[in-house]
């Protein structure tokens, strides 16, 4: 197991109280596999990954649990050791390519810096390595574009430059936080393809954080659905999409407009995501859940495997018969129209 996260909790101290941004999350990522994390804004997707990378502000953050990377707990590692790991063994692609590159340094300078930080090589060979990577991510005339500044690149090219920078030291784990959200569909398709090809070539593990279920369906091997700082459902990708077991997942799938079918009315999840300052009692989804019953309001459902498939985890009190029926109903409406 490349990365194993056990009972990860991240709390932020604020003036209004403690915000439980991540509250007991477990998952693991194997080498060469892709894990997709989906959920609404504020569900704790990004904070989970920032915590693993040790990028939260130290001052007001309380972290517990463990994040074992090749057996080493990243949460207790010192800042010097973390600096060695970041950008070298674990690299991150940030959401917004417009703001995550430094505007006053050329793309080449930033790439060369990334290489020389972790490898004891000459500037010349660092530059050669950078050009090679820019070519690999599909930037035309890479040797000349090296001296361009970020503003001379289009959005898609900047995102590619970010990916090149993340890959420059052959990381074992790549964390991509909404890598395609700011991009057009055609560029998104290019980036998704690129990430798949690079994974085949370098065998890295990838964690993709996104709210686009389409991207998850096409890239991920396993999917983690997060709701209000906790995991609602976790399953291999086919199982999650073909037999979703949590009402929140149904809501997400049902609220998606389809390209290949006309749905009269989208299913909407009523209400807003809860405040993490004072999350609802019991199951956190219960105020928005159409299937809510008494037990949901008081007892927090544990994340357990479904009876005939221990690899499919879900946190919901509903009985499995109802779930299978509802999931089948949902799929019938979306799939029948599609075929």
């Amino acid at each position: 197991m490349l990365l194993e996260v056990n009972d990860l909790k991240t709390y932020f101290q604020t003036d209004d109280g403690i915000v439980k941004a991540v509250d007991g999350v477990n998952f693991s990522v194997e080498k060469g596999k892709t894990l997709g994390i989906v959920g609404e804004s504020g569900s704790g997707k990004s904070v989970t990954c920032l915590t693993i990378m040790g990028l939260n502000a130290k001052k007001n953050t309380i972290t517990s649990g463990e994040a074992l990377f090749n057996g080493e707990n990243l949460l207790t590692a010192g800042s010097r050791r973390l600096r060695e790991i970041r950008g070298n063994d674990i690299a991150m692609i940030f959401q917004d390519p417009m703001t995550s590159l430094n505007p006053v340094h050329s793309i080449g300078t930033q790439l060369v810096e990334a290489v020389q930080l972790h490898q004891d090589v000459s500037k010349k060979s660092a530059r050669a390595r950078s050009v090679e990577l820019l070519k690999a991510v599909g930037i035309p005339r890479a040797d000349r574009r090296m001296d361009d500044y970020p503003h001379q690149f289009s959005g898609g090219m900047r995102q590619r430059a970010m990916i090149a920078m993340a890959l420059v030291n052959d990381p074992d784990l790549l964390i991509a936080d909404e890598p395609t959200t700011a991009l057009d569909v055609t560029t998104q398709a290019q980036i998704v393809n690129l990430m798949k090809n690079l994974q085949e070539e370098f065998g890295s593990a990838i964690i993709v954080i996104t709210h686009d279920l389409g991207v998850v369906a096409e890239t991920a091997d396993d999917v983690l659905v997060m709701y209000a700082a906790q995991v609602a459902e976790q399953a291999p990708v086919e199982k999650l999409f073909n037999r979703p077991h949590h009402p929140y997942t149904w809501g997400l799938l049902g609220s998606l407009p389809r390209l290949d079918a006309d749905v009269d009315r989208l299913v909407q999840i009523p209400g807003q995501p809860p405040s993490l300052l004072r999350p609802p009692s019991g199951c956190r989804f219960h105020p928005r859940c159409p299937y809510v019953f008494e037990k949901c309001k008081t007892v927090d459902p544990p994340l357990v495997g479904i009876s005939d498939d221990p690899s499919h985890l879900q946190a919901c009190h509903l009985d499995e018969e109802t779930k299978d029926r509802e999931a089948a109903k949902l799929l019938a409406t979306t799939m029948a129209q599609a075929s």
């Binding site: 609404e40 804004s41 035309p140 289009s154 959005g155 898609g156 090219m157 057009d184 569909v185 055609t186 560029t187 998104q188 398709a189 290019q190 998704v192 393809n193 709210h211 686009d212 279920l213 389409g214 991207v215 998850v216 369906a217 096409e218 990708v237 086919e238 999409f241 073909n242 809501g251 997400l252 799938l253 049902g254 609220s255 998606l256 407009p257 389809r258 390209l259 290949d260 006309d262 749905v263 009315r265 989208l266 299913v267 909407q268 999840i269 009523p270 807003q272 799939m335 599609a338």
Partner: protein, 352 residues
């Protein structure tokens, strides 16, 4: 048949590029919108899709007369509004409103919700203070907010709620036409579904006409009656939505459709995406003739780069600007680079 509420005829919007400080010499023009014609019927939703920089938003701003057109005609409700003066435009502004993309930037943070929603009512001097207040509270209720939110500030609301305020503001003066410029692209899918459902309900209740701009093809299919695909300031294809999504004719439409990820692992991974190379060219110096030809998988040298394709008709109001339209859909994996298998339709005649 409903009447055309909005007719756009050969509209062009060129932004001059100048050089020099005192004597500003024009050295070129960004052709943001370059000869676009279409019409929108009363009660209909026209979706406009395209990549960033294809002129969608500029077109919307031209329709709203927030920008003056360089050339062409915009006819709204039977009146040519493309050259009206500001005072003459004022009564017409009551009939058209806009919903903006970014619910964080489009609401004034220093004004209360009541003032934001009632601003149009006050500008057009509709009703007394009490009437205005009652109307605003009614509107807040219509869009699914609590009328007690009247005195709150925008920062107290989430993104979805803010977009509802934007919708309430657009509805305040009972417009006929609402231009929605990417109204849901900043929102989560669950909230997006709420706003889309709301827009549909309002259309039914108030008989609204929408021009709906988005880059998300799923959303556009869901909400539109007809869809227009734009590329570099021109119309690539315009068709009723089912025709466009199930029988696309323009290779660009095909490429866009094939690039959308499908939320179903089995079908999603089986699809054959047509990955377009490179980025959208600069509208400052667009390619010759068919402006899609440098990226087009069906490019024919000596034809596509010489002769500008007119909008060929394919029946049922389906038009596409391509000399070598797609014959069938979806395409097989190897079908995309076969030259010369089809020419233009039997009797090529341009649609005005």
């Amino acid at each position: 048949m409903a009447e055309d509420l909005l007719v756009v005829e050969n509209v062009k919007k060129h932004f001059p590029v100048t050089r020099g400080i005192i004597f500003q010499k024009q050295v070129g023009a960004v052709k943001a919108v370059d000869g676009v014609s279409f019409s929108v019927k009363s009660g209909e939703t026209l979706g406009i899709v395209g990549e960033s920089g294809c002129g969608k938003s500029t077109l919307a701003r031209c329709i709203m007369r927030l920008l003056d057109v360089t050339d062409g005609k915009i006819v709204f409700d039977g009146r040519d509004i493309s050259n009206l003066s500001r005072p003459a435009m004022r009564p017409i502004r009551r009939e058209m409103m806009m919903i903006f993309q970014d619910p964080y930037a489009s609401l004034n943070p220093r004004k209360r919700v009541g003032a934001i929603v009632s601003e149009a009512l006050e500008v057009h001097k509709l009703g007394t203070a009490t009437e205005t207040k009652r109307r605003v509270q009614e509107l807040l209720e219509v869009v699914g907010l609590n009328p007690e939110h009247y005195n709150r500030f925008p920062h107290e609301f989430s993104g979805g709620q803010r977009q509802r305020i934007g919708v309430a503001r657009a509805l305040a003066i009972n417009p006929k036409l609402i231009v929605c410029d990417e109204p849901v692209s900043a929102l989560d899918v669950s909230v997006q579904a709420q706003i889309l459902n709301l827009l549909e309900d309002l259309q039914q209740d108030f008989g609204l006409t929408y021009v709906f701009i988005a880059h998300d093809l799923n959303v556009v299919r869901h909400i539109s009656d007809r869809v227009m695909v734009m590329y570099l300031g021109k119309i690539a294809e315009l068709a009723p939505k089912v025709d466009l999504y199930e029988q696309p004719k323009h290779p660009y439409t095909g490429a866009l459709l094939s690039a959308v990820p499908i939320a179903d692992p089995a079908r999603g991974r089986a699809r054959q995406p047509i990955v377009l190379e490179g980025d959208v060219p600069s509208p400052l110096n667009p390619p010759s003739a068919c402006n899609f030809h440098p990226r087009c998988p069906r490019f024919q040298k000596g034809h596509c780069d010489v002769e500008d394709p007119p909008l060929y008709p394919f029946g049922d109001g389906h038009v596409a600007a391509c000399h070598y339209p797609l014959e069938r859909w979806p395409l097989g994996a190897d079908e995309f680079r076969k030259p010369g298998t089809a020419g233009p339709p039997a009797e090529p005649s341009a649609v005005s």
